[in-house]
Amino acid sequence: MMNELKILINKDINQIKNYFREFKENKKKMLPILFYILWFIFMLNSQSETNYYSINYFKNLSFAILSVLLIISITNVYFERTSYFNMADVNFLFTAPISPKTILLYSIFKTSWKQLLAALFMFIFLSPSLISSGILFPEILLGVMGYALFIFSLEPICFIASKLGKKYNLKAIILILLLFLILPITIPMIIEKSIIKGIQSDLMNFIPLIGWSRGIFMSMFKISSNLFIFIFLQLSFILIINLYILKTASNYFEDMLSSTENKSKYIENKKRGKSKFKLKINFNKNKKISLKKNYYGSKAFHFKNKLISYRNDFHYLFGIETLGFFILGIGAIIIRNIKFYDYSLITFFTYLTIIILYIYTLFSINTNGQEELDMPFFYLIPDSNIKKIISVNQLPVERMILNSLILFIVPSIVDFKNILAYFLMFIMFNSIYIVIKFSNILIRSIFRKEVDFTLMLPIIKIFQLFLIAIPSLIGVIIASLVNNIINFDLQIIIFISIFLSNISILLIQLLLMDLIISRIEI
């Protein structure tokens, strides 16, 4: 076994060496690393200027980080891309005369090591604000431990869920994960009758995994009397789950085959900036869809998008996300009525709009149909580039108009006195959404030749946020100027200014679109 492990370790040491050696050959690859270092230094500096962070801040922060990690992991199980391996492992290791248990044991160790490194990096990053909050270095290690133990539990859970999902119903396995890992989170919130108070409650520390880890993490600030219980529970869980994996490890190749393929495709697409978030729902998978055939030239893209939407959703104009917007609108009003938050409805919806747009900005580069730009036929179809771009984006914009209408219609009825503000918010929301769509095209045309889109993504995102923020910033400046001249509701003036500024920028972009697209090489 030791010999086999040595072979695997050698292989990975060579890979790491080559990764760094490549920087000599290809200096461009250093750019993202350089960016991260600068960013890191900047963040360390900016944080050292702050003096104090409250315990509640860290309670919220740790809860948010752990929840996001949990949700990402469950999503990976759902999309069948949880695997300790890559395709080269399948081709070379699975057929080699090396014990499957050794391969698995080593892969678990390798994954955990990577995660521990990531945890350490995160804590080095957080250390100035932790130290300025009065935390000593040994106590920071408790935080690292809380985070690392959580990560060490997550991967094995996902591995087992993924394996069981092949044998039994995957959706049932996901449901079980949600029931045991996500649902209990709501218990402290219900008891405290507040989301925020629930998150900050010590009761949360008793929830399996997220809670235990948070309990260990928060012992940085004040050693909990239950610290050893949390550590014991978390370690026992990790031990049991890993023993189970190793006990059943002789026959996992087939279970890992499709997950590894999916994971490899996902990583490959991510590197090329083509990963898409798409729910696997085909409402009309086998239904014959008949659409009018009068979509000629550039309109063919709209036709194709409609067909795909019909296939995947209830209707080409609305689907699962429409339902999501509806639930969000109604939900916000219901939880407002039971006083889960203290803002006015219009303020809450302003925040909600900003959050939704922020999420769209963060993920839209990977999601919104810009893959058309990588298809040769996009350039070959004999029609104007502007028309093609409009046609490609027409349906997503139509859908967003409908979705946002559904989001804003209920609050504007309930909070009727602010109906004008909701209407303007709706207009502003959609204008920013269109700016996001167009900024994607611009980004795609600028960052086309990058080898690793994942590494470049933070730089791209900052650039994109900058692109989106400029028109809004101009809008806010105009609004403040106008506000000095005419005496009107500032919020309304801001909404109008942002909308007008977005439209102006869009028109300029559209006029430049021919030039932008003609610069794209595939």
Binding site: N18, E22, M87, N91, E254
Partner: protein, 232 residues
């Protein structure tokens, strides 16, 4: 060398391979042909232990196919070779040599690299190679293992004409060395002249088997005609 008995592979209600039996003798080249979705890749993946078989037995040199001992006796070249991005061509060879405990492989590896015009790419990282070159590396890595039986899944896909010719020569070279070769493909002309036995697969079953001469009989037809006659 290889004995497959009543091999069945099911995915829930779908039977991908249905009660298939055949054997390959020492020094024999066997071609498994069939239309898309016939079950060729599933058969080959089941034999090399990447898929769990639903029923049946697979013996390689008398050993159960997914045992460590059996793995020393075969090499598998997948349809879509995936290499380690950050390993060079030579480091792949070194890694495989270590994994299969092969000594004094260097000269042989260099010969294979020369045959496939890859000697000058020896220190290139896999991520810098084209798909065809990656396929060549995958073949070379498996050739240096020098096992008793080789499994090739669509080996010609992505190769340039010279590499296709070299691969055909390699098949014959392996046969002359007394090795067995099992090739799954749908490129009929690539195997017509080199296979001793042909298995034609359709809907998970082997519907025809025999040497090309036996299958053609007195008819003056090509393998393509034979294939179309059998599968349509």
């Amino acid at each position: 060398m290889l004995k497959v008995t009543n091999l069945t592979k099911k995915y829930k209600n779908f039977t991908a391979v249905d009660n298939v039996s055949f054997q390959i003798n020492k020094g024999e080249i066997v071609g498994l042909i069939g239309p898309n979705g016939a079950g060729k890749s599933t058969t080959i993946k089941s034999i090399v232990g990447l898929l769990r078989i639903t029923s049946g037995t697979i013996l390689i040199n008398g050993k159960i196919n997914d045992s460590i001992d059996a793995k020393k006796d075969f090499a598998y070249i997948p349809e879509f070779p995936k290499l380690y991005d950050n390993l060079s061509v030579w480091e792949h060879i070194e890694f495989i040599a270590q994994a299969y405990k092969i000594e004094n492989y260097e000269n042989q590896a260099i010969k294979y690299l020369e045959k496939y015009d890859m000697l000058d790419k020896k220190n290139k990282l896999a991520s810098d190679l084209s798909k065809g070159m990656q396929q060549k590396v995958s073949i070379i890595c498996n050739l240096i293992i020098d096992p008793e039986i080789f499994f090739f899944d669509e080996p010609m896909i992505g190769l340039d004409p010279k590499a296709i010719k070299e691969t055909k020569n390699i098949f014959l070279y392996l046969k002359n060395k007394g090795k067995s070769v099992f090739i799954s493909t749908h490129l009929l002309d690539s195997i017509e002249k080199i296979c001793d036995t042909i298995l034609i697969m359709k809907d998970g079953k082997i519907i025809t088997r025999g040497s090309i001469e036996e299958l053609k009989g007195a008819k003056k037809i090509t393998l393509e005609d034979l294939f179309l006659e059998a599968t349509e």
